[in-house]
Symmetry: D2
Subunit: 491 residues, 4 copies
Amino acid sequence: MVRWPLLWARRGEAAAALLSRYRGSLAPGRGCSSSSSGSRGPDMDELLRRTVAALPPYESRGISPALREGPSQEFVDFYRALETDGRAALLTKLAADYGADHGLVSQLCGQVTEGRDVDALLQAEARLRYSLTPRYKLLIGHICRLEGGVKFLVDLRADILQLLQSQSADSPQLREMNGILKMLLSDWFSVGFLNLERITWHSSCDLLQKISMYEAVHPVRNWVDIKRRVGPYRRCYVFTHNAMPREPLVVLHVALTDDIAKNIQAIVQYGPSPERSEDVNKITTAIFYSISTSQQGLQGVELGNYLIKRVVKELQGEFPHMKKFSSLSPIPGFTTWLLEILQIKEGKSNQIFTELEYKEIQDAIEGPVLETLKRLLSTNEWVRSDKLVRALEMPLMRLCAWYLYGEKHHGAALNPVANFHLQNGAVLWRLNWLADVSPRGLSSSSGMMANYRYFLEDTNHNSIQYLRSRHIEASEQILSLAAQCQKSSKL
Amino acid sequence: MVRWPLLWARRGEAAAALLSRYRGSLAPGRGCSSSSSGSRGPDMDELLRRTVAALPPYESRGISPALREGPSQEFVDFYRALETDGRAALLTKLAADYGADHGLVSQLCGQVTEGRDVDALLQAEARLRYSLTPRYKLLIGHICRLEGGVKFLVDLRADILQLLQSQSADSPQLREMNGILKMLLSDWFSVGFLNLERITWHSSCDLLQKISMYEAVHPVRNWVDIKRRVGPYRRCYVFTHNAMPREPLVVLHVALTDDIAKNIQAIVQYGPSPERSEDVNKITTAIFYSISTSQQGLQGVELGNYLIKRVVKELQGEFPHMKKFSSLSPIPGFTTWLLEILQIKEGKSNQIFTELEYKEIQDAIEGPVLETLKRLLSTNEWVRSDKLVRALEMPLMRLCAWYLYGEKHHGAALNPVANFHLQNGAVLWRLNWLADVSPRGLSSSSGMMANYRYFLEDTNHNSIQYLRSRHIEASEQILSLAAQCQKSSKL
Amino acid sequence: MVRWPLLWARRGEAAAALLSRYRGSLAPGRGCSSSSSGSRGPDMDELLRRTVAALPPYESRGISPALREGPSQEFVDFYRALETDGRAALLTKLAADYGADHGLVSQLCGQVTEGRDVDALLQAEARLRYSLTPRYKLLIGHICRLEGGVKFLVDLRADILQLLQSQSADSPQLREMNGILKMLLSDWFSVGFLNLERITWHSSCDLLQKISMYEAVHPVRNWVDIKRRVGPYRRCYVFTHNAMPREPLVVLHVALTDDIAKNIQAIVQYGPSPERSEDVNKITTAIFYSISTSQQGLQGVELGNYLIKRVVKELQGEFPHMKKFSSLSPIPGFTTWLLEILQIKEGKSNQIFTELEYKEIQDAIEGPVLETLKRLLSTNEWVRSDKLVRALEMPLMRLCAWYLYGEKHHGAALNPVANFHLQNGAVLWRLNWLADVSPRGLSSSSGMMANYRYFLEDTNHNSIQYLRSRHIEASEQILSLAAQCQKSSKL
Amino acid sequence: MVRWPLLWARRGEAAAALLSRYRGSLAPGRGCSSSSSGSRGPDMDELLRRTVAALPPYESRGISPALREGPSQEFVDFYRALETDGRAALLTKLAADYGADHGLVSQLCGQVTEGRDVDALLQAEARLRYSLTPRYKLLIGHICRLEGGVKFLVDLRADILQLLQSQSADSPQLREMNGILKMLLSDWFSVGFLNLERITWHSSCDLLQKISMYEAVHPVRNWVDIKRRVGPYRRCYVFTHNAMPREPLVVLHVALTDDIAKNIQAIVQYGPSPERSEDVNKITTAIFYSISTSQQGLQGVELGNYLIKRVVKELQGEFPHMKKFSSLSPIPGFTTWLLEILQIKEGKSNQIFTELEYKEIQDAIEGPVLETLKRLLSTNEWVRSDKLVRALEMPLMRLCAWYLYGEKHHGAALNPVANFHLQNGAVLWRLNWLADVSPRGLSSSSGMMANYRYFLEDTNHNSIQYLRSRHIEASEQILSLAAQCQKSSKL
């Protein structure tokens, strides 16, 4: 499972185009060894020989010929010109043939195991460490020095991630290369090297256009929309990186309110007019209502949590009296999970609904209850019947609380958004009924949204607790709903 | 010998102060285990336990508790408050006790050596690679995320380098830590993450003040001086890094001339007045007459060569017809080497001078020839006698050509400036007599300077040749002088 | 008729709102002396007494009490709060009661007329000049020092211009105030105090939004549209002024082409994609295809011609080989003029069309020729019939050439766009058939557009010729068409 | 007397050079009509005919040929190339021959005087007003549109002011031209068009260098000095104007203190180290300790008072709790005035000193009392004798209080600094003994300094009072000292 949560990454235009080509080219029966890439094989071998330098011997590590721009640029140009399957072939070859020198590793391993004095041991470990460097890491190191090189590598990793998801292209070497690249990107995109920028209506048009495009949580419909999201009672912050100018890496939208928000439409559709000026006295609360990342290739690189943290500081500087910090978050996957539960409990509806609830639902719909209910839930039509909405409130809230609090994957919260905020040290604080009645909100979250609240003095402690013991800090409301669910719904 | 050539690093003020304290505290008989640091011992152990987190297990690498700012900041504050010997003790302890888990490494080495399928092998290698991560690397990773954290680490490495130069503090673990830190800094200060800035008289005062202070090759005497060095017919470029704002990392001074310069005073003392405007038609040549680095802690991180390369591009953009690129460089160490040679050849002066030369020298001075000559050379007084200057020109030029071309250290050019430019792919092009008659120039280089010329189309090839086979590309003048030296001077 | 030509001023939002209120309030029967404003009368008198300081005596002119912010701000606030008729009343009162001291003027006039020595004469003139200063000029001088004061005065002049157009409010004093204000604004918005800014897709969103709104010549439909107009092969420049930050005063759109453009849709609708990069070799020509001003209150202040001039310099700097500069301009008023001509020549169509032409037109339409033709022309339907389009080309081109070349108003070209470019020294160079087939283009210019070409070495001479002797410099095409028209159309 | 007070204008380098040439060239016997300028006479006439356009007729005012850059530039170049006496000749000719059309003025005056209806009267006045425009005003209007044109005009006015001070060049026409130019510059340099910039150590070097040069009140000795004056507990603000980029027009230095300062050395020599950070709680008071203007040609244009006003707002924004605002000002001219008084009162010392005071002075010095005292005061030596310092404190404080409060020139305070602050609405608040013991401070102010305090709510009222009735608002200390002086010193 991809563990870059909440931040539904939307890759840049180029990568999107690439993706569509992938889908075409990686159709069944057209593996990487297909004729087209096969015919390019010799070129590739030749290219790789020319462009991937050998690792210098341990003794002269760190001293590289100064101006090796040519070959790296050649690699970049060659790669860019390739179609999807060509890229797959090249990456596979690079990963397989230009990794570490396994023989040398094995030999040096032998030297480490012998009992030796500290100096010799550390020397042996250092040599071993160096020998474990895949040869392609040198190429990567050269590419990152080219103009636009870092962006190229980020996009390259996006390609690798795509490949890894297709069975035909997956390979241990590719997975290794992905790991190596992720580690490097994590180093380069350390928070110390990121620039925090506030985006306003005075920011540059290209930035605002990108931010509109990247917004994955609550899509921006037009320029009136985006103007409101950077206007009064709103804040929009991004991280950028010097090596990728004019490219927002991760975007956080904040609403400034007087209490913790329970409805998203009030924020994104009916916000204050862009001409109004803010009344500072009405601002006591910051609602993080959207966080999106734009670079698929930075999957797994921690950016979102650092952005939240920096923005909290920024807001505290601007509003010293600000007291409450909370997300207003979607619950992606809940509707799907709910429909599965209903399927599983076919004929055992009393394990899901109380008798009274079942009756009210029965009153609100026509036809066989569970079947009809499933249909109405999967088509979002249930929301049109006030009666049904009332009847479903309690059971769905209960089920959702359980879904967020009780359902786990490898010990962590199953829901990726929950997992993200809990890792950051937030508290699972409130579930809101009819909080997002957009088609998207109904389809994914049955119209509910959650507040993950950040009690600043506790986030560190909570984060450690969650990561160590998988303990989820939750409010009374959540705990009580989840408990009811366990009792009445017998999940 | 420090292998950060030409770039006589001048550390910042703080580090300079630190250094002076070092010198005091590391006096004989006051080792790191002295009572004062001994008494802090328990605190340190306690601190390190608290602030250096354990490496997460391989499986959950990459997921760190989000907001671990506190402990890292605590380490930073604790370290900053320490005196020199305290720092030495803390670093030594950190390096020794919080390195890699040698037992685990050894165990995983065993698993690598067995014959296995690719997947298992790569997995084993990945685990091994991870296990070789010293535990303190995690701390470093956290510190670099703090505000001012990167600068702290750069200064920390400067401290380590100082320690390694004192015998009492040197240790294999410290050396390992130095290597780890250098590698990280090399990653972070990759050229893709550096900003090139041109410095002019319109640049900010604090930058110009720092650049004046850092100028180590031809010291800046006052503000008139620095105004000229950023004025017409001059260019001054620096690299800066986002994580260390307002801090020039490496500075390159260029003079724009109509031919390759042979005298430094003409550039730094009698340059064109700051009010004159440039006549583009008179500019055909760029002379790199000074390159200085400011951060001792970035020793060994390649910055100077990349700066030269970027500046060449910049100048080509500004002056499309620019044809010649060359350094005008000091030859530090030559006078010392020369005096040693004279010492060694005591009584065999015919192996150094021709008969005629010897006579002319004899005519020019009073008293016993070699002894007097050595005195005059070591006191810079020889330059006051025109006769002696004329008499010494040929033999000293010859010897210096040999010194630059023939004297090696581990196969590379002994002279660090030569080694720097040859690594960059420059040609050892011309030796200039009476090129720097400042006291500094006379003391270190007997008044000579060298031009290392950059033929742009050849630098890549030259660099590779030099690094591979230690071949030095040199001009006719140099080769001929060096050959004469070999013949007549019998070195 | 408003003589701020081509630059169809579109006033800012505030002024637009004001305008709509005007229209309501200045309805018949509700003059300025209506009860509502009458009841405010005393307040106004009181306010003006308080806020409009008396002119200091001649001797202490130039020394004003330092911090007179209060009263000026009071006037501004009072004025802003007024409805349209209140504003009319206040302005009328201010103009009438706070002008120059006519008695003093008359008295000083007497002193000038007497024969005197130079010193006394100049003194008398200076006193007279000073006495001719209307008292309200002092108020204006104070307001311009307030924050936002200059913008207030620009908007105030827009109000005055509106008033002058309504008969009930026109007055000699108001006209005088308008003249005084225009002179002051001309001084303040001298070209030396304007900033030239190039607008690109990287410019700030609010600027681009304003530029889209202000574009009056070829309206911007959406953000794709505006992105293209600041993209490759396009340039967009504005003048801004420090005292009105973030407010483009006049906007010039340029297309970069390889020849003089003859069709506007090719430029504004089907331009190159925003992702393409420019091929400098294909750029030889600059087409000024739109110039718009945004401040109604700056009517008559020369900005457009200076902007063109500055942009020409800018383009020559960027494209040293650029050879041709030309406008592609609408011919507003032509269709109206044409329909009048057709009306006048009722029954004398042979004075307009040749026999052959008349026949072709007759063939192309049904029903009574002239009547039908007028209908088709006024509804833009003629353009749907290829036959009719062909039949009309010659006669309409001929008539239009005459309209531009021959029709005069006070000796100057009747068409305001023509007058603007001819004043700038351009040549009436080419008439283009079917050059703008948008509804707007058809309605105003019967689909034709004109190129006014700027031969840079001649503009100065042409401008002087045109201003002095009303001589219009025109191309062969124009002269020949106009001559034919005079001959065959007998206008 | 030049009435640009306190702001001891220091003209730019160019003007300074010009001045020195003046002094040379205007030596006795070499008048403006000397042979050299005489020989240029015809050229000048020719040039002026070519470059100074005639005023367009009233009807076509406001429509000027578009691109008249050439002639104006020619005038500028011609003028710049002239020596001092050539400039004098050209300006004199321009002022004399290209003024208003006196005949026309006289004629139009006749039309005004007749009794007429409003419309006709206003028309006649408008024509008269227009006819009073000197022809050279058109040239000025064109020059201000050139690049660097505004700076040229400012420097031109500096030349005129110099000329007016030399008897041989003074003329009514030149004086008129000075007045016209001053009025125009006052319009252009209205506060709405000025940019406020805070200067810090991060500001550009050229700005800081200029600010150091322009500092006339307490000269900046070196870069350590200027670094302190823009460092912690200090603020430095300037006004700049878009038409004169990189040129500070007026500079205000402020010290942030916890009480009203009484000694200038504590501020400019022993201020806090540039590395200290400010403790906001210790900042309750802003001391304006220096205000300097840099453009001689802006003499009489109000800038200093507006700068103070803007800075007060800026400081209130930064330090909401700031309570006290005051200057710490020199008293230039006092020592000279004092020596005159002593001269006048020769033999009547009892009208200046009390008997006791006289005795103490006599005890402190040797030789004839008044004579010796005058010598000691004019050589600044008195300050070396503690005894004398004590003896003089009361009488000098008393005399100085009277000098500031009682001595008038045309009804205004004689002391220009006092006049400046009183016009701004400040209160003459405190006299400080031994407040500036620098040679400059002793020579001009006998070591005393005055605080002019700004009580913000009263400044407007005070300013009006002072300007209208010449009433000086002063503190108890001042009033009491001045009263004693009147009584005991019988001035």
